[in-house]
Amino acid sequence: MDPSFDDVWAECEDLFVQARQRLAALKSPQPPHVVQASVNALFRTTHTLKGMAGMLGFPRFSQAAHRMEDIFDLMRQGRLRSTDSLIETLEAGIQALESGLTELRRGRPEPEDYLHAIRRQLGELEALARPSEGAVLDLTALLDLPPDMLKALSEYERTRVTAVLLAGIPIQGVSVRLDLATFDDRLRSISEAAGAQGELISTLPLEMHDDRDGLFFLLLVAAPALETDGLDVLPEENLEIMELADPDRVPASLKADPGPLVAPPAPGPAPVASHSPAALPLDAEVLRLPAQRVDALEARLMTVAQVRDSASLALRETQDPGLARPMAMMGEIEAGLLEVQKALLQMRMVKVESLFQRIEPMVRALSRDMGKPVRLTFQGGDLELERSLLGRLTEPFLHLVRNALDHGLESPEERSAQGKAETGSLKISASQRGRNLRFDLRDDGRGFDLARIEARGLAMGLLKDGQIHSVEDLHRLALEPGFSTKERASQISGRGVGMDVVRAEVEGMGGDIQISSEPRRGSLVRLSLPLSRAVIACLKVRCGQQTFGVPLNHVLRVQSSLAPVHGGGRIEVLGRDLPMESLQACLGLSEPSGGQQFFVVLRQQGAAAESGLDLALGVDEVAGRVELLLRSLPELAHAPGIMGGSLQEDGVLWVLDPEAVMGLAMDSLMKRVADV
């Protein structure tokens, strides 16, 4: 693949992300002008994709993007209602284009029709939007404007005027007089302010026959009313607001049957201009930067931080009380540097939610096509992962989801016969476990057919006859290259090139995949991926001369005792008698001879109090809470119990991997018992 097109591929990926987010936002009730802006943006996105595909030399992709663009055009003209089924079809279309693009990037040939799976639905939509007998409803005559101005409206603006009036929204006119030198900036500013209060349909130049200087404009805004203060108009700009069209003047016969138009918002509280948290800022400028630039900036920042540390050390060594103020300023610089580091890290990170957004439409479509109703739940969408991992994870996830629906979940009839609910369950959760981001995909289906896996393994020569094969071995076998229990390929999965590809992709990211299942109770596929960098909140503790960070999400409680306790002892925490092990013993460092009086009570993340393992970790001192930039240790330097480190003023602060430390503590406690 020509590397000079890397930017184009990357931009296409961004466009798909934006398209998915906008489609997801359309599923919840929005003010009409927000819906319209989203549809406009989707129209532009597919238009851009069409052009890019042409540039890359993929004519069939370009045709498919053009077809999607046409559907968005029909929506923005108000000729298609924004319904759940329409959004679902559009999501499937965007997903098909995105998958197609991934295949093209891998060097696969173009398919005949990227939108094959939704061809029927697209045809129905196009037929639905076709005007009957050529008649197109046009209500622009209701605008209180001179005929020559009405003629200036484009076809799109006319359809929008008609659509909003049928939806019962008045059209306001905003006239302003702008200075010749600054009119472009001012017009943009006022247009944005008006767009925030309603749907900006048109900006028309006005010809004024008086002796006033400047340029005159009329903005057509669909909104129940406009707030003058919110329009950001200067006093000398002669703002005037007038109602240009009243929806009450629309003939009742038309209101009763508005035809295929954008659905009005659900009745309820008055629409507000603010977007839901998930929505994109509509006109946010997106900067694309080569990752190397961010790398170089991070390295430079690190050098600056090191200089700051040296300066801070030099100041401290002078021990001059008059330097208290400069020392405090050093603290401010430190805080500022951490903020910049976090911001840089943020540039590389995306929320796990965006991965979930890719999966959801596919599950719904598969569920419908296979006739297997499924309740899909997500957890941990707020966690973050590196953008580079997101792209690599999507395909493996889609395959796992396909597998779960195709092989895992039973038909409603089969589930009923087994006493299960007809609707199956698929839960996808993300959690941070030590230095890993863990994804669990659980279904409540039939589980892996281990007898069949064993038979297939024997037939393929992967297992030896007469030997006992453990449940773990058999599950692991499903991840071997070319392994499939399906005699013939199904359209959905079972093509023999699935789980091994998932495993290769996950291991290629330095991760690990494990599967387990129980007959008739379901399956669990667990992916663990290492995080190279993250900002985490830690409890700072000291042992000897060394400082450590304990991730706060594992800390249940911090406790002290009057009498020192030695490793291997027990302490009472909230009425429970817990085993105590010294952190030094866990890490192979020399233990304090006098015991320890401070304890960090650790709990396995996500474990319930009654079932989880709690353990008290003895430390010499608790030094407070700190938020830090974690850098993971490379494989060659991997140390048990250490997740990574963070550069601090007084050197590297090692961040503990709580789950690994709990394991080390248990090993150490067992060893103590064995030695007695």
Binding site: P634, L636, A639
Partner: protein
């Protein structure tokens, strides 16, 4: 001459040796090494390199000479992201024609060498990074 025939002539753990330049990422000034609690054998700790932790070799463990774990003057960064602390650099030399000779069986560096290279009137050991990494993995497994 092609880069693949160029050798870095350096000194570490009290001994002069050669290293193919093609195996190097870069050579940087040495900086204090931060030890890792319960870190793996053969790694004395890490330094920060381009914003990431870089493991630094512990010659003492690898070649069995614990007296040579002094702060490095220079750090040679290998392609697989491992820092070799060096006592000094003599420059680069062109690999002579002909193959390498086997090191003597009792040479403590034997497991990490590609062989001995005859330069002038002396035999200099040529480090093999792949063998070095394999040794580090063996040390870790044996822990």
């Amino acid at each position: 001459m092609s880069e693949s025939r160029l050798l870095l002539h350096a000194r570490a753990a009290g001994r002069a040796f050669l290293l193919p330049v093609s195996e190097l990422r870069e050579v940087v000034p040495g900086s204090p090494v931060t030890p890792i609690p319960s870190g793996p054998p053969g790694i004395q700790g890490v330094v920060l390199h381009h914003g990431e932790f870089l493991p630094v070799l512990d010659w003492g463990v690898v070649v069995g000479d614990p007296d040579h774990a002094a702060p490095p003057a220079v750090l040679a960064v290998l392609r697989p992201r491992l820092g070799l602390p060096l006592e000094g650099l003599a420059g680069t030399v062109e690999a002579p024609e002909g193959g390498l000779n086997d090191p003597p069986a009792e040479d403590a560096w034997g497991p990490i060498l590609a062989g001995l290279c005859r330069l002038g009137n002396q035999d200099l050991p040529v480090l093999d990074p792949d063998r070095l990494l394999a040794l580090l993995h063996r040390l870790r497994k044996a822990r």
